[in-house]
Amino acid sequence: MNLKNNVRLRHTENLLSSCFREIDENIEDIIMRIQDETEGVPVRTVKSFLSKIPSVVTGADIVQWLMKNLSIDDPAEAIHIGSLIAAQGYIFPISDHVLTLKDDGTFYRFQAPFFWPSNCWEPENTDYAIYLCKRTMQNKTRLELADYEAENLARLQRAFARKWEFIFMQAEAQVKIDRKKDKTERKILDSQERAFWDVHRPVPGCVNITEMDIRKCRRMKNPQKVKKSVYGVADETQSQSPVHAPAPRCRKDTKDDMEKEVSFLKTQLDRHCMKMSKVAETLMSYTEQYLDYDPFLTMPEPSNPWMSDDPTFWELEASKDPSQQRVRKWGFSLEEALKDPAGQEQFLRFLESEFSSENLRFWLAVQDLKRRPLQEVPDRAQEIWQEFLAEGAPSSINLDSHSYERTSQNLKDPGRYSFEDAQDHIYKLMKNDSYTRFLRSNAYQDLLLARKKLETDQGRRTSLEKFTRSVGKSLSGKRLTGLMQSS
């Protein structure tokens, strides 16, 4: 698949340029080819009721040509590509404001290169006002304004109340120029002009494809080349639109940069790469483990509040009694247990029973330290040192001498990460030692197997009542489908 660099037309953020990924040309090359006298589609003048329709091709002809010349087998794909070309305004239906391609006898015309998107058009509302205004000045049915255009004109008259005289004069001048042209030529030019405005001021209901993500605007080619006026009107209102601020200059690679890159690459090379099969295995087991906790894959109980409009699930989660399912999750990893406030509390209580709660309290204190405002950090770090590590500390934790030395050095200039080593060490200790015992403890097992004491039997019954009630509600309501899908 050839990824030829297409001309990055201003509007091709993705839609068209990526479409032409598989085709080794850019749009304008194709447009030139399709209009070629010998190799292109036949452009004809068609006799209509009282007049002639100059310079048209049928939609079917265009689709045929695209299929033959771009090696497309599927007509649907050719229509798709043709529609994308039409949406940009390179070809347009002569009797419709909506820019799509139809595979039938509908008549299309080619857009004048002057109006091509590659000219970086950003026509102002003053231009649009002149355009609509001049159309009302000529007594031609084909130039009558559509409803939405009349509304737009009224809106612009209000917006440009003060300079309407100027706009009116410009419109008159344009009419004078237009009148000088040959009748057939005018028909064609008028339709091309209209197609241009159909792109930049689309019919309501159509998306304005010229709208760009403002983050990408700045990197478009030649922002200086932006054409703002169709009718030669200078625009005084905005010297520079906010989206066209100059891009930051690119630095050239210095020797320092190269050294950094080499050292970075060396680190990368030294890094141990895990086998893909092992990566796949861990990902599969992870998703498997959390399957029950993914509401998109397993229906939550008693119900998904978004489907049933019943917030019971959230109420239960917020209550003091964690569900069995939640308790089970604490057994996945120490991270999961600590992530859940109820899990953290249970683990802390367990550690208290083993007289090692200072480990978790230290870990929590350091976590908190890391999130404090800079100003508070030095004092708080000292407090932590005093509480957990200093000689005769009230909640003395057990650190290996190496970590202890490092930490005490760090405290000379205390910062958010002064306790990283110590925290790591304590975490590993909890994970490998206390955590596994916690999972085997009666307290945890009781919760996991819902072996509740007599006094909390009441609690269990009311949860069951709530569950029954909500199931009843859901079954009787319209949300039957949700529950049915789960079974």
């Binding site: 790469c273 599969m284 509040p305």
Partner: protein, 338 residues
């Protein structure tokens, strides 16, 4: 000049070796390995809520940790705070600059932040009787593409000036600046343990950074155009990216390379945003063609589509409890699906 050339040669040599090392561990592909896994069910989600209130394109949204409140930012110059379940607007924060590109909800629920073409990240307090500006973080020389709170006192930003930064909100200063990208930074995602984060940029790369020492730990290449969206997998070892090249990719930190690519010959639109379900099995990706596609992350297959927006899907988000997915669009609406 000779020295530079020598170093360039050395760098090229190392790159070749790295490529070889990566190839050596590629003993299978993700699709092959996951063939044995039961397929994800065909997902047909319905719109459960349509949140109407913005008057112009929505550029960003972010769920609060309670999985009910959310913040959305629109070019109508407003941040809206929603109780999405009831559909009520809790707060409307008027912005000084209407060219907003990002918004974020602090884990505590006390603060929200926004930023855009004004090159600043503005932090607001939601808990005062009237929403007040807490700080204007002003030091970037390019637009603010993305921001994420670590806590009420720290926030990470990604900017069009090609840098990311960690700020101390109280002092308004940048604590750490992350320099390495050569293109506009478009997005960032924090690891579950908040010790690292990953960023995507217009240089088509994704980079892993250490929050603590400010260094770039790993670089992931594979995309051929701007990386617009990025998210950590919940295991903290894997990352998913979305790009203007119309594909999404999964990269694994341990394998140091691309694991699988999510693409389709029919898809001709760039990816604007993405979000993962709680187990990570499903990925919701918003595209320029107005749809949001649902992918089976293990098998690399499309398993559903969310169609309903009348313009491009600009942002996607799954709340922490994973109960639904929210899409925000240039059509000015937010939709909640499940």
């Amino acid at each position: 000049m000779g020295e530079m050339e020598q170093m360039k040669k050395e760098a090229d040599g190392l790159k070749t070796q790295i490529e070889a090392a990566r190839k050596a561990v590629a003993d299978t592909t993700m699709s092959a390995a996951s063939a044995a896994v039961a397929p994800a069910p065909r997902v047909q989600l319905k719109t459960r809520r349509t949140l109407k209130g913005h008057l112009a394109k929505i550029y960003a949204m972010h769920w609060a940790t309670d999985s009910r409140l959310m913040v959305s930012a629109s070019q109508d110059g407003k941040l809206l705070i929603w109780d999405s379940h009831s559909g009520n607007k809790i707060n409307a924060v008027p912005l000084k600059s209407s060219w907003v590109m990002t918004c974020s909800y602090a884990p505590s629920g006390n603060l929200v932040a926004s930023g855009g073409l004004d090159n600043m990240c503005t932090v607001y307090n939601l808990k005062t009787p009237v929403v007040k500006t807490v700080k204007e973080l002003d030091a970037h020389t390019g637009y603010l593409a993305c921001c994420r709170f670590l806590s009420d006192s720290e926030i990470l930003t990604a900017s069009g000036d090609t840098t990311c930064a960690l700020w101390d909100i109280e002092s308004g200063k940048q604590k750490t600046v992350f320099l390495n990208h050569v293109g506009d930074c478009m997005c960032l995602s924090l690891s579950p343990d908040m010790n690292t984060f990953i960023s995507g940029a217009c240089d088509s790369l994704a980079k892993l950074w250490d929050v603590r020492d400010g260094t770039c730990k790993q670089t992931f290449q594979g995309h051929t155009s701007d990386v617009n969206a990025i998210s950590f997998f919940h295991n903290g070892n894997t990352v998913i990216t979305g790009s203007d090249d119309c594909t999404c990719k999964m990269f694994d930190l341990r394998a140091d390379q691309e694991v699988i690519s999510y693409q389709d010959a029919q898809l001709n639109a760039g990816v604007t945003s993405l979000a993962l379900s709680v187990s990570g099995r499903l990925m919701f990706a918003g595209y320029d063609d107005f749809n949001c596609n649902i992918w089976d992350t293990l098998k690399g297959e499309k398993v559903g589509v969310l169609s309903g927006h009348d313009n491009r899907v600009s942002c996607t988000g799954v709340p922490p409890d994973g109960m639904c997915v929210c899409t925000g669009s240039w059509d000015s609406f937010l939709k909640i699906w499940n």
